[in-house]
Symmetry: D2
Subunit: 431 residues, 4 copies
């Protein structure tokens, strides 16, 4: 095989599966490898190092192999500066532009590796030679529709280094390392307890908890529990849709969700117009915040979000009724708002919504902790497939998950009731 | 259309959907009807009566229509005595024998309508002319493999009357009237609360609660809650398989279920041999009861069943390991045991098992209340499809359903803790 | 019960289940009824008539019952003209405005029943006293966000008559009458054959076939078959999303779908950037039509849609990459475009997309034939739940459904190959 | 950490994931490792070798780690002969007996590594010191209920070596290497084509094709296609249940499956008694073979199995009607019959049955190729989870899968029609 290049890979590359994937990629794509040096970390804290020559019959195959190795963290033995091409027009990237992964990434510019800011998958990678705080270079991502004429866009992977997540050095509890597997027979209460603890820890450390919620949260009767979590200060941002908000507001206005009394199950037929009437009431009031201020809306998740200044994004969809005046109907505008929420999040709870969870997942770096809960195993699988390093998927009924989670979060470990103090952080109530 | 017969239908036949199904059957099968008399019940307690002539082009089509009408409760205007043919050999029924529905049924014998005992679907209907308590006739069902040479087997529907369930005169709460529809977005806690109340009512009325449980009950961590319900006297019979019992016993012996610590989630790998070791321990002890007596098994569902004299059937299956000495490996023998349990039950809880639930459902009359819980909507749909008149299906995680149910049952309405008194019936504990 | 009103119901009200639902509604809601007259249609073509007094303890309960009866086609014995209130501002409807069903509807205006145009669920019902073709009154629906200041909006149901779909007088083949039930064990090829025949019939009668398609159509390898149907003239409008179009275009540009070679399964890793590169190529070309004209896109569904002038709507979503320049990113604008497609359709094929199918279903009257195909039973159930009178749901793999459907459609009954002639209608090719 | 042992691991241990799992096991269980030697295979054909010392705080933890490493193919640096204990009674194994994996296994006996015959998971490992062909030692597995008093049962893993499957050196097409992942969006026809080719190759090489089939195969209309495969010589053994056989026989006797005409969909109501009548007809005939010989059964899968001497096992279950006289009702007896089929199989097709597939899977070594097809992703996932090295899972409709598979198998590559010649092997028919 006449075409060959040498790459280097280092880190916890055996136990994180990196070497398995790299060797596998070479073989799958029909190439061959020649390991020139392999220093195996002799104990669990020691990193390993591999240098190998990779060969292929054709330059195209070699390129495909190198691309795959690159995605797994390999760099050429002799990397050159990242190649940059000027964007010819707004929203137009150069052909063969470098499309980002969601892993932490560096670019080699002017002989130095610099971190890429706001990492997110499927973006263009822009280098601004003088945009750094000290007038030095700065690198960051841009989604296609944000690219502007004149942007310097990376086009070759040789000057780019990807750092895929490594296996944590300890067990990791509920948050497994890219396990991917989703089972509907997993223990429920004990896993929820671990998620609750994680939520408490993030909040106590002044971190950011993002909740992505679908309408089933309300319809299944879990709205009160989520509202409690918001009120107690455990939710920093809420990303949802017009349907979620309408269901929640309908509960406050009529005590129903899609016309069904969530408490008593009685008279399920009486109120199937409540949904559309709710929307028209909020339109008349001028929006959700106005409806809260006017005393029209007096409880529920949206009420608590207004009262507790939770950063809320309601993204529109073609299946919406109404929509509510608060709903961002333009998809690109909504994505931009969601992107800001996602980049700020330390942990994301995805509750019974595929659409909004995928939208959020698209913006998340692989290092953000993620919890996906849905009764449909296919939904959970699809969300976990997006490569979050530390993710837990639960196939369970949202109507029992959220109340149980809220109970575990709010009871705390010492049995006290946790409530938010003035600065929005929860503390155990004194007894 | 030259072939015609006249039938009568009576009862709450409009609001129970009977007339819709009857008219529909005639039209679907290409016949025509001529309503000769229709007395509509003028208020909700008044029954209706319909007499109509049904015609078809061919005797075969007419027969098919009459068969369908029969299943929905219609009887010929001029019914004759049931036709009986002697079974020629053991397990062999006459050709075109009458195969039962699961609805309450009567046969016209010697000019009198007599009730068919032990009604169950897909059975032969046997009449014993002198088998009644007073030497009069008796009618009952037999599964095919129980038919004996000489049995008098019904072969024609004209002397048989089926009484499909009618819509209850009031709303009905969780237990809907053949609604069939199963949604994964239904409210959870409120429905569970209604099931809990039903369980309490049945038990307080000295009724019989049957639990059908799959291994996921244990593996999801719900075993303790089910054991509590058994201990408190809310379970009269348990129908399960070798896997359920083994998982439960493994928890008592090793604290794991299929090797995973259900509480802590830690060290999931340590114990994947516990399953098979558990079976060999019970074999060595000579069975579950012996293992309980020897102090080898000290907690769990099977332990409580032994201690509380719960009627337990463990039915074998080709996927079993072992099996345990208590497992009935012959399917026909196991069915006979399950049949006895099913006929005694006033309410059946089907928890996360399709196989055992179908086996039980096959033996149940349509009048027995049924609760089906599974995380797979297809399982719940299939179980509710079997025509139970009062059934509730829940698509939810069994690992949260059973603990929540137990909590609601045990807390009762007055806040007291319900426990079993000497005669096995629960009462609220005095405080 | 001191509060009472008399209503009339007529039509095939027994075999369509109308009376069952009406009697059930009264009982469920705690009222009582007194049937004053009931003329039962004595044969299958004869309609029935019912007049009954309905009573309830409170005016609220009576109102709830009457509302339910109204939805099922009942009218007050003494209906008055529809009550109209002027919309106070754009997008603002009067309180308690009448919200439409998706069934054919009439309003009583100036003593005459007039048909409501463009019927669609959850809309306001507008009457324009002089908007008719002859200067007479006209009634039509408007979604909330289209309501304009000054519109005359209906607010009371008493002058409105709903006509829920009735059971067809014959069997109906694949297109059952609101059966709702969805089974994954239904025969496949024979049902697909019936759908194919329906498609041929609609097209031959110059009807309108609307296809709603999700990305799985392309990813599962069914794109070629759908493109063939478009090319042969069997698709009049296509409603899809940015993802569907991008997958399809990626196949034309790179031979892959989300990077996987749909034919060979080989080298699945090579192309996971093709998706985003495809979008940037189309942006560069200025849109799909331009890319087809420039010879960049040379095959596939989108190519055939451009070439065959198929009315195509690509609706944006927050999970989109890019998006393509052709994608309508504003949800309200996209809904309006989808609404036009839906109102023109005679039959709608919903292929492996929940989001777009729900959006289309929201705009469809209950009389439009609908075929829903998805591998997830929950998706099919949800779509069929929307009350289409003639709908068929299939839980099956879209990757085999579409090719099989195309084969059956294109082979026709005489074995010839059907292709589109000049006017866009297919004919059997001469051999 | 004061407790320590040294182990060796060799083979393609990096790209097969073995080292990742071994390092992970040590860390997950709280131990530590010290790599003493690691020779990395420098190219894809070269094997690697690792010797490492493993330490833990307690002997129990060390034991747990060693157990896990053992399962992944590690052996102690200084292995001793396998420890054998005599079984004290029939069906009773010694405490802590060695329970087998489904991977190829060797035992060290008298200083020599000998292969374990009939490898299967969760079995006892028996050594017969003089049972070999030359009077030497022989090792084999026994399920618990087959253990006899006096058997020499292995109790310690130190003299046992497990050989987990290694990554094939080439890509592998449809049959991926323990990928596990199951997607409902995978391409369908191309994967089916690869399975078809595999089936042809196995059959042409005189290999053994085992089909495991559920009732949905018949009910979905795929019975004819399966019967064709049997007739053409592509099926060597069939493992199914009473339900599958009854549905298939009902089609031959009445043209229906559970009463529904699989071809026309017409008159679905007419025949819901056919199922039970079919069983009684076969009972009357004395069994399936007798019914074929008597001309009662004239087509279908069971007919072809009788005519083509296919090794058929019908295993009973508690949900069976009847059962048929051919059904083995005792679960242990049925397992023994299934075990013989499974051990003979070179490739296993699992078609739309969880119960029978799990039963078969329990008996399969990890080296047998397996194809699982079901419309429920959870079923496919569960079956692939059992550790088959080369498995393909497809979430698709069995009603289109089997006909498509049969078409691809029977058309062959040269376009000829393949049929079985005298010796049961298919050949292309001469034209």
């Amino acid at each position: 095989m006449s075409h060959s290049r040498t790459v280097e890979i280092e880190g916890h590359i055996i136990d994180s599966g990196t070497m398995q994937r790299c060797f596998g990629a070479v073989m799958d794509l029909g190439g061959s490898f020649d390991v020139e040096q392999f220093d195996v970390g002799t104990h669990e804290e020691a990193e390993s190092y591999c240098r190998m020559a990779v060969s292929a019959e054709s330059p195209e195959t070699l390129q495909a192999i190198l691309h795959e190795l690159h995605q797994n963290g390999a760099v050429l033995e002799d990397p050159s500066d990242v190649e940059l091409v000027t964007a010819p027009a707004d929203k137009v990237v150069p052909p063969d532009f470098y499309s980002t992964t969601n892993h932490p990434t560096e670019v080699l510019y002017d002989g130095e590796w610099i971190d890429v800011e706001r990492i997110e998958m499927d973006c263009a990678l822009i280098v601004d030679p003088e945009g750094g705080p000290d007038g030095g270079p700065r690198a960051y991502t841009k989604v296609l529709n944000a690219v502007e004429e004149g942007d310097l866009v990376a086009t070759d992977q040789s000057g780019i280094r990807v750092n895929p997540p490594e296996r944590p050095r300890s067990g990791g509890g509920a948050f497994g390392f890219m396990q991917g597997g989703v089972s509907s027979e997993r223990p429920s209460e004990s896993t929820i307890r671990e998620v609750a603890e994680e939520l408490r820890e993030v909040t106590e450390a002044d971190g950011n908890v993002m909740v992505v919620a679908g309408p089933a949260v309300i319809h299944s009767g879990a709205g009160d529990a989520l509202a409690e979590l918001v009120e107690a200060g455990y939710v920093d941002s809420l990303s949802a849709g017009n349907g979620f908000a309408t269901h929640d507001l309908e509960r406050s206005l009529y005590g129903t969700s899609l016309g069904m009394d969530v408490e008593t199950l009685e008279h399920p037929r009486k109120g199937h117009k409540h949904h559309i009437w709710t929307i028209s009431e909020i339109i008349r009031a001028g929006g959700i915040e106005a409806a809260v201020e006017d005393g029209i809306v007096t409880e529920g998740v949206m009420y608590q979000c207004v009262k507790n200044d939770v950063d809320t994004v309601l993204a529109g969809s073609i299946r919406d009724d109404g929509p509510l005046p608060d709903t961002i109907t333009d998809a690109v505008e909504a994505q931009d708002a969601i992107r800001e929420q996602a980049h700020d999040a330390d942990i994301v709870l995805m509750l019974a919504t595929l659409l909004h969870s995928v939208a959020v997942g698209n913006c998340l770096p692989s290092t953000t902790k993620t919890v996906c809960v849905d009764i449909n195993p296919a939904t959970v699988t699809q969300l976990l497939d997006r490569g979050s390093a530390q993710a837990v998927g639960m196939v369970t009924d949202i109507g029992t998950f959220v109340p149980t989670l809220a109970e575990f979060v709010l009871e705390g470990e010492d049995g006290g009731i946790a409530v938010a103090d003035g600065d929005g952080h929860p503390h155990a109530e004194e007894e």
